[in-house]
Symmetry: C2
Amino acid sequence: MYDPNVTTDTPTAGSATQRVPLSKERVLAGAVELADEAGIGGLTMRKLAESLSVEAMSLYYHVANKDALLDGVVDAIVGEIEAELGGFDVPEDADWKANLRTRILTAREVMVRHKWAPGLLETRTVMSPRMMRYFDSLAGILREGGFSYDLIHHIMHALGSNALGFNQELFKPDNEQQAEEDAEEMFELMAAELPYMTAMLMEVAHDDDDSTLGWCDDQTEFEFGLDLTLDGIERLKDTA
Amino acid sequence: MYDPNVTTDTPTAGSATQRVPLSKERVLAGAVELADEAGIGGLTMRKLAESLSVEAMSLYYHVANKDALLDGVVDAIVGEIEAELGGFDVPEDADWKANLRTRILTAREVMVRHKWAPGLLETRTVMSPRMMRYFDSLAGILREGGFSYDLIHHIMHALGSNALGFNQELFKPDNEQQAEEDAEEMFELMAAELPYMTAMLMEVAHDDDDSTLGWCDDQTEFEFGLDLTLDGIERLKDTA
DNA sequence: ACCTGAACACCGTTCAAGT
DNA sequence: ACCTGAACACCGTTCAAGT
């Protein structure tokens, strides 16, 4: 197993293993990696320390506390978006709709890579400078597209989490197994209590072979909602 | 202090205090009350037990574990929405837009009463029967309004958390004090790094006396976004 | 049927101490 | 400058036991 604390390329001395000192960057990168593997619930100070081959308390030299760690993790995620976009510069052309759309779908790619990220983002209360720059670039795209700042302000609120490439998928089981069971429970209740949902399920689910679930393609649904909002925004502009 | 475990109205016997036994309902009601007072982070099994004048382990007789408790709390919240609406029956008239709007704004009233509820809802992965009936009623309103089930399905996804009366207010500090400090930090970065946000702030915030914050009226912004979506839905129908 | 006490494994974090 | 060890307060939860 690769241990990042041990450098094998000690140039002169014999076999003396040498420590690569921790850094805030290495701590945050380790936290992202651990969350990818173990979920956000598996990201604890103690386990993170272990994954970095260090004692738990060493982390506190690089990070004030767990809250600061999580803020840093969010910032790292935004950093991935920035890298993917090649920076947050506002494009020259005035096609705000296409620019906004690709920017948001790029953010979504990062969210899909780190499925725990949306849930974490929702818990944060402060915005990092890098995240501010991301939102500034969204505002810039709209501004260069000819919107008033008053409208831009409302639009940013209306976009909500869509701005970062996810929407509130209420009650999405991460466990396919359990989802199946829940669906069967649901069917029992259905006929009498849930007439509309039953009818909807029967009509919509037919062309998907793997049973009742998997009938919602996340990406398709996200883009549907996003385009609905973008079209609404376009209309707003025409009106105003 | 009022202790719900002690009945003062013992009809016959002298002063023998008598226990009102716990019940799932009392546990859930206590949990909602505790969350209202102490936030969702303050809702622990041990503190909940204490607030009910009972030992922590007693709760496990009425509730399988904390996860089940939280599911029950969510169900109780949906119960408040149902009570507020006088049931989930789908209205007779076909004004889907007005019906959907008032239904969602009613749900929002409950969310505003329990500010921790949106955050909790986001963490749940299973839907209670009562919540299914809520969503069934939304589907019903749209169906009676003449939408195809295929469209209804997409619309429900697009509504996302709006369906329950909240949207993903990213990075909303609950602490006004800290918010003020953050805003000042932001200002320092602004001029150079955040040109569009700076401009937006200067233009939009002028008519609000209490400085830079408080310039976002949650209710107004929510209704703006909701109406944007509802208008988009209306257009979808006309097109299809 | 309903509640309790002691105990376990696991958290985040402080503080004084090591190199 | 960077890391550690022991200790504290707080979790959720099990299990056997009480009434």
